[in-house]
């Protein structure tokens, strides 16, 4: 491959697919990829190799924690407890130190030690959190795919109570985009959205751990679901964020994307989703979609109002206002924590 025609090397292109390039390099790779059929073929080949390797699945037997591990655990925890007792301050009457200055000094040393330990643990945790929440560029596609198709179907269904999701159409994400896994009967569509349905400026826009189970009602399936499908197609085609934004705006201008139909809403009541690293599975809630309206018309974000304005489309290219209302139960009927 000539560097005159290709500003990036093939190895770099592979590294881009693996999510190994810096944000700047990844942007450069993407820009070139959009225009270069030769590189698009190479990328498709690499993705094909990865996909074919996934055919080798290893079935693991379903077992609990083996007895040897349980025994080793019990021994370790026991030793730890014993060590704690041994190293604790002597309590016999004979050894009580009465000099209050010695006590005060000892107490100060303990306080400093505890503070240092907490600070170190906190720093270490923060360090791992920073590493965990840094998603500067797109990871390889397989990192966004769920290896177990049945697990993805179950997760999609968990977005709404069984009375709704059992008869819903189910979509699953495959290499070329969302595909129908199960046809539905009631007009609802359930799926697991990925991180790229977040706002474009979200720090977790490329977080491969994001799994958002959602069930759209028929009105939302007609007018909101196409947005998710479109964003997914653009991501898989390797478009830059700027291009995606332009394409969405053009979609609304030329009426290929439609304003939310009256009554468009969705269920997000799964306890198994991961909306982002900051909120985890969040709380069960319903969401309602409108063409742009003022949040005051729903009393959203006012003191004690259960309605909040969802930031998903705020400042984005989609002319949509989205309200969130938490509900008391998860889709399986169990009680949810208060928001």
């Amino acid at each position: 491959m000539s560097m005159n025609r290709h500003p990036i090397e093939q190895e770099e292109l592979m590294a881009y697919l693996d999510g190994e390039l810096s944000a700047d390099q990844a942007t450069e790779a993407l820009s070139h990829l959009e225009l270069c059929p030769e590189c698009q073929t190479l990328v498709a080949d690499f993705r094909g190799v990865s996909q074919e390797l996934m055919a080798w699945e290893v079935e693991s037997p379903e077992i609990g924690i083996p007895s040897e591990i349980n025994a080793a655990l019990a021994e370790r925890l026991q030793k730890r407890e014993a060590a704690k007792i041994k190293t604790s301050w002597p309590r016999s009457e004979n050894s009580i130190v009465t000099n209050r200055w010695v006590w005060a000094g000892a107490l100060a040393i303990v306080c400093v030690a505890v503070a240092l330990t907490l600070s170190l643990i906190s720093r270490n945790r923060n360090r791992s959190d920073v590493r965990r929440t840094s998603y500067p560029s797109m990871a390889s596609i397989e990192q966004y795919l769920m290896p177990d198709r049945n697990a993805e179907i179950a997760l999609a269904r968990s977005a709404a109570p069984e009375s709704i999701s059992d008869d819903a159409k189910i979509l699953v994400l495959e290499w070329r985009g969302y595909e129908t896994a199960i046809e539905g009967k009631n007009g609802f569509v359930c799926m697991v959205e990925r991180s790229w349905t977040s706002p474009f400026n979200s720090a977790e826009f490329w977080n491969p751990k994001v799994h958002v189970p959602v069930c759209f009602n028929p009105a939302a399936a007609r007018t909101i679901l196409p947005l998710t499908i479109k964003r997914t197609e653009m991501v898989l085609a390797g478009l830059s964020k700027a291009q995606m934004i332009d394409s969405i705006k053009a979609g609304y201008d030329n009426k290929k994307l439609l304003a939310p139909e009256p009554g468009a809403m969705c269920y997000m009541m799964s306890r198994a989703g991961h909306l982002n690293d900051a909120v985890g599975h969040f709380v069960p809630h319903l969401m309602f979609y409108f063409p742009l309206i003022d949040k005051s018309s729903w009393g959203a974000d006012l003191p004690d109002s259960p309605v909040t304005l969802n930031p998903q489309f705020q400042g984005g290219p989609e002319p949509i206002t989205e309200f969130v209302i938490p509900v008391a139960k998860w889709s399986d009927g169990t009680a949810a924590p208060e928001m």
Binding site: M14, F46, E52, A55, I65, R76, I121, S128, N150
Partner: protein, 189 residues
């Protein structure tokens, strides 16, 4: 979701629940790691157990400088190397090599396995760590003690070689390729 590293620190602090969660997260991936490299389900299960036993024994020495995932695969690689050494020793004393398991293995998986066997061992290991264990280039570099650039170039070579091999095999036997492509698509229908 609590991070693996936070769970490990909680386990260091004496939390049994934190260990249970780590076990639940990593038992299957570790089984896949050993299962693909040993072709012996019983030994794979044993070595998963040994990996977790090593974690328990060394818990007090764990420092969250590396991801738990990398730490676990580091232990797993050491156990795998020991297992292979043991096998080599026993095979020189007359014990025959275990035959690859073929009964019940889907054609597509066999095909992939045969393709991987064509690669040089170091390149195969890098490719497998990347594709199956989803480790980053720097994690692989740290585990195998080779420069990151070497990881990248070997990964590149091995992917090209695999692509070329898979293509030639697909031309010889198109049904196998179709079988591999459909493997992931087998679902509920």
């Amino acid at each position: 979701m609590t991070s693996d590293e936070a769970l490990m620190l909680e386990f260091q602090g004496g939390s049994r629940a934190a260990f249970d969660e780590l076990f639940a997260r990593y038992r299957k991936p570790l089984y896949g790691f050993f299962g693909r490299r040993l072709n012996n389900p019983e030994r794979a299960e044993d070595l998963v157990q040994e990996t977790f036993l090593a974690v328990i024994r060394a818990a007090s020495r764990y420092e969250p400088r590396a991801l738990v995932r990398t730490y676990l695969y580091g232990i797993a690689l050491k156990l795998l190397a020991a297992e292979r050494r043991k096998f080599l020793t026993s095979s020189t004393s007359g014990q025959s090599a275990p035959e690859p398991k073929t009964d019940g293995t889907p054609d597509s998986a066999l095909w992939v396995r045969q393709a991987l066997e064509k690669l040089d061992a170091p390149e195969r290991e890098i490719l497998m760590l990347r594709e199956y264990e989803q480790l980053s280039y720097s994690d692989i570099s740290e585990l195998l003690r080779i420069p990151v650039n070497t990881v990248r170039s070997k990964l590149f070579r091995s992917r090209l070689a695999l692509k070329s091999y898979l293509e030639s095999e697909a031309n010889k036997n198109p049904s196998l390729r179709a079988s591999a492509a459909q493997q992931r698509r087998r679902g509920m229908q």
